[in-house]
């Protein structure tokens, strides 16, 4: 006599992950979960996928799915199984990633994660067990609870006005472009079980072939919370539940979809260095910069878009290449408002403490508000360069040397007002004595690779350099 029914080899013989009663499941009598588990286990075994399978458990009655399957498993927070499964699937491109979720988990608290995993077309299969009620927590209203159906938090029945309509997840998922397979099946009678088996097998084959995302909604009976006898519960699915949630395959692109490979590589440092654009440079000039003080504080201020941030960055970069300690700090908070942007740069022979510049040795002010705001903070031995193309009046309370540089006009004559910051760079390099013109030119050629940009910036820096000689 041939055996027609046996425990699937994909199940543990003894449920040792279960703290007690290790020969029986934790499901209530008549529950659909046991049948669903049996189908999945049989199909995993038949397809030889048991060892490749990784189960992601939900919170709800499916929380202990890992008690039964002899596969690696992870239990996730409520609603997050599809997100956890995304991480599992990306980390294990060869896995058959199985997310097993109930209606509260997937269709209420975790809807966003479920939909986005589907929309990315993650290589995973989601079993959405819809018994239109919260089982584990005690029969509360689910997003899938039927209209007028009684729940512990809908004692007068689900009301459209108060609770909205029952949510049809399979139809929603089928509306997305990425999923490969979307279907709704039942496990309430032998005919539906046969159909469910076929669809589940197909979903697992899609995973085996890495053909993307499969979503299988399974209408499942919950005699306990429905307050029905098991047989009555099975009949209720055919007579009532499946009218709201019709069975069917809503989308099936298995034939036309190709395998989706998502890399997950470990690489050597050399490859990282190449990607970061790191180049071994010849031992840089060990001679440090000559500066008026061992530590110089710069403030570059102007309108957003005048290049005050990149001006500071260029100075920091050039100083770093000359073995100086540097910090660059962009403006923040209230200073950003009113269109004033600034960057603070500290260049030092020794390690730098605070990167905040309160009293700059050098202030570059490209517009009037920044000259008014920061000018009075420059000490007597400092210097201020202001953009005389845009500023016609200077504050009375400045204590130090002040240079009027028509930076915007000079930039305009070399080709673009955008190069005003490079004009200033040339100017302050000469005035502070920190860099030679040749240093600036080499730096600009390294920074700007396009010939046209190179040309205009070289002209701009020269214009600034000349102006510093004349002023």
């Amino acid at each position: 006599m041939s055996k027609v029914f046996e425990k699937s080899p994909a199940f543990f013989d003894t449920f040792e992950r279960k703290p007690s009663m290790q020969k029986t499941t934790h499901y209530c009598p008549g529950c659909g979960h046991g049948i669903i588990g049996k189908i999945i286990a049989d199909q995993l075994a038949e397809l030889g996928l048991q060892d490749q399978a990784i189960f992601v458990g939900p919170v709800g009655c499916g929380v202990f799915i890992y008690y039964y399957f002899e596969s690696s498993a992870v239990s996730s927070a409520h609603g997050r199984a599809s997100a956890v499964a995304t991480g599992v699937s990306r980390a294990n491109p060869d896995a058959v990633t199985i997310s097993y979720q109930g209606d509260g988990d997937l269709a209420a608290i975790g809807t966003s994660n479920a939909i986005h995993a589907a929309n990315r077309g993650e290589n995973m299969i989601v079993f959405f067990v819809n018994n239109n009620i919260y089982g584990m927590t005690g029969g509360q209203l689910a997003p899938t609870t039927l209209i007028d159906q009684v729940a512990t938090t809908a004692p007068y029945g689900r009301s459209i006005k108060n609770d909205g309509f029952p949510l049809r997840m399979a139809e929603m998922m089928a509306g997305l472009e990425a999923p490969t397979l979307v279907a709704r099946v039942g496990v309430n009678n032998p005919r539906n079980i046969r159909q469910a088996t076929k669809v589940i097998k197909k979903g697992l084959e899609i995973q085996r072939d890495k053909k993307g995302y499969a979503f299988i909604e399974i209408l499942s009976q919950c005699p306990t919370n429905w307050k029905k006898e098991p047989k009555e519960a099975c009949e209720w699915i055919d007579e009532v539940v499946s009218k709201q949630y019709p069975f069917g395959v809503f989308k099936d692109l298995t034939e036309e979809r190709e395998a989706v490979e998502r890399p997950c590589k470990r690489v050597e440092f050399a490859e990282v260095a190449k990607q970061l654009g790191l180049v071994e440079t010849a031992a840089s000039d060990s001679k440090q910069l000559e500066m008026a003080h061992d530590e110089m504080h710069f403030k570059f201020a102007g309108f957003g878009g005048q290049g005050v941030l990149s001006l500071g960055m260029m100075l920091a970069q050039m100083s770093m290449q000359r073995n100086m300690e540097v910090t660059w700090l962009p403006s923040y908070g209230p200073e950003v408002r009113g269109g004033v942007a600034n960057s603070s740069v500290v260049v030092s022979k020794t390690p730098i403490g605070t990167p905040v510049v309160d009293n700059p040795n050098v202030l570059v002010a490209l517009n009037r508000p920044s000259l008014e705001k920061f000018g009075p903070l420059v000490p007597e031995d400092g210097l201020i360069v202001y953009n005389s193309s845009l500023i016609d009046q200077i504050p009375a309370d400045l204590k130090c040397k002040v240079y009027a540089l028509p930076a915007t006009d000079l930039a305009s004559t070399v080709g673009t007002v955008k190069a005003a910051n490079v004009v200033v760079l040339g100017f302050i390099a000469r005035k502070t004595g920190m860099f030679e013109l040749a240093d600036l030119e080499v730096f600009l050629c390294e920074t700007f690779k396009k010939p046209a940009l190179q040309e205009v910036n070289l002209k701009a820096v020269n214009a600034g350099w000349q102006a510093a000689g004349n002023l």
């Binding site: 890992y66 002899e70 992870v74 956890v84 991480g87 490859e271 403490g353």
Partner: protein
């Protein structure tokens, strides 16, 4: 090989040097450059980068990836970290290693995008539900951000625990040179990880233990681990006078500003010492006990209205510790810090 980078980019470079496999995150100012740099570098290297649908999604992807033995990074700022907290509790409960960066901004609520240090309680004291701890590293420069990111991956693997890197808007946005070269990292064997092969069929990653005694023993195990971490990993940078008249303390960007204050005080003939904790949990209480002699005033500075100072006071029972700070996105000026220190010293001598 020196590179001038923002603190936020330094995190990503550190992660790459540490062999990080995956980044999952959601955009938020002032942490977004971390996601920008991760997407730029991870994808061409064949590593995993996913911009998640939400912060909660991101931390749960971290959970899934870490369950699978990967070195994983995520980053956000206060409001996003609030959302991640549930997942962080699960990571701690399931003993999953990962690195989480909080580039602190101003709160509560939407606050603003300036620098603050007001997520101290959130990150150092827990934030999520349950009886757990996370290792918290607090860098004070871009270079230290880079170094500590590398270290964070090793610590996470070593102790099977989430590790936080607590920075702020200033550290994240400022640029400094970092010196990048190949670094030895200690990637742990992870025989417990999920894998698509038969040998891992018995592997289960979970934080649920239905049986009360099993759960009690699990929590006991966590806390034995936390005890060992407390004994071995706490550390602080101590700078300044060997016999101080005043001790200044602060972490992160504040600690760095106090470094300048110590120098300035020295110029004025005042012997000051800075204690800058590099780990906030475990808190380097012993360093405080060894450095602060009875009667020496302590000025604790933070960009929040009295969070960090609680741990300083717990470390120095019975000692007078004075608070100073700025909030709302403002940073104290150096002169302000020096003035506060002088005031604190004067008050102490009047007692």
């Amino acid at each position: 090989m020196k590179k001038l980078v923002k603190g936020n980019e330094a995190v990503v470079i550190g992660a790459l040097v540490a062999g990080c496999d995956a980044y999952y995150g959601y955009p938020i100012t002032p942490a977004s450059e971390i996601a920008h740099a991760a997407s730029e570098y991870f994808l061409p290297l064949g590593k995993v980068f996913v911009q998640a649908e939400c912060e909660i999604g991101a931390i749960n992807m971290v959970f899934g990836s870490s369950s699978s033995g990967q070195r994983v990074l995520t980053a956000s700022s206060g409001p996003g970290i609030s959302l991640k907290m549930e997942g962080i509790s699960y990571l701690a409960g399931a003993q999953l290693p990962c690195v989480i960066v909080n580039v602190q901004r101003v709160g509560p609520g939407l606050g603003n995008i300036g620098p603050e240090q007001s997520d101290y309680f959130q990150v150092v004291k827990g934030g999520g539900h349950g009886d757990y701890r996370n290792i918290v590293l607090a860098p004070a420069s871009v270079e230290e951000t880079y170094r500590m990111t590398i270290e964070a991956f090793d610590l996470a693997d070593k102790w099977r625990t989430p590790v936080f890197l607590l920075t702020d808007a200033t550290l994240g946005q400022m640029m400094e040179p970092i010196d990048i070269c190949e670094e030895p990292t200690q990637r742990a064997d992870k025989p417990w990880a999920l894998d698509a092969k038969a040998s891992s069929n018995d592997n289960l990653v979970t934080s649920i233990y239905l049986d009360f005694d099993d759960m009690e023993s699990h929590i006991g195990g966590l806390h034995e681990k936390y005890r060992q971490i407390t004994e071995t990993e706490a550390r602080a940078d101590v700078y300044g006078a060997a016999v101080p008249e005043i001790v200044l303390t602060g972490y992160g960007i504040t600690g760095r500003m106090l470094h300048s204050a110590v120098d300035e005080l020295e110029k004025r003939g005042i012997a000051a010492t800075l204690i800058r904790p590099q780990t906030l949990w475990p808190f380097p209480s012993k360093v405080y006990q060894d450095t602060v002699k009875p009667g020496v005033p302590v000025l604790s500075v933070e960009l929040s209205r009295g969070q960090f100072i609680e741990d300083v006071r717990l470390s120095l029972p019975g000692h007078q510790v004075k608070w100073f700070g700025r909030v709302g996105g403002n940073l104290p000026e150096l002169g302000e810090l020096v003035e506060q220190a002088e005031k604190c010293l004067e008050e102490a001598s009047n007692v």
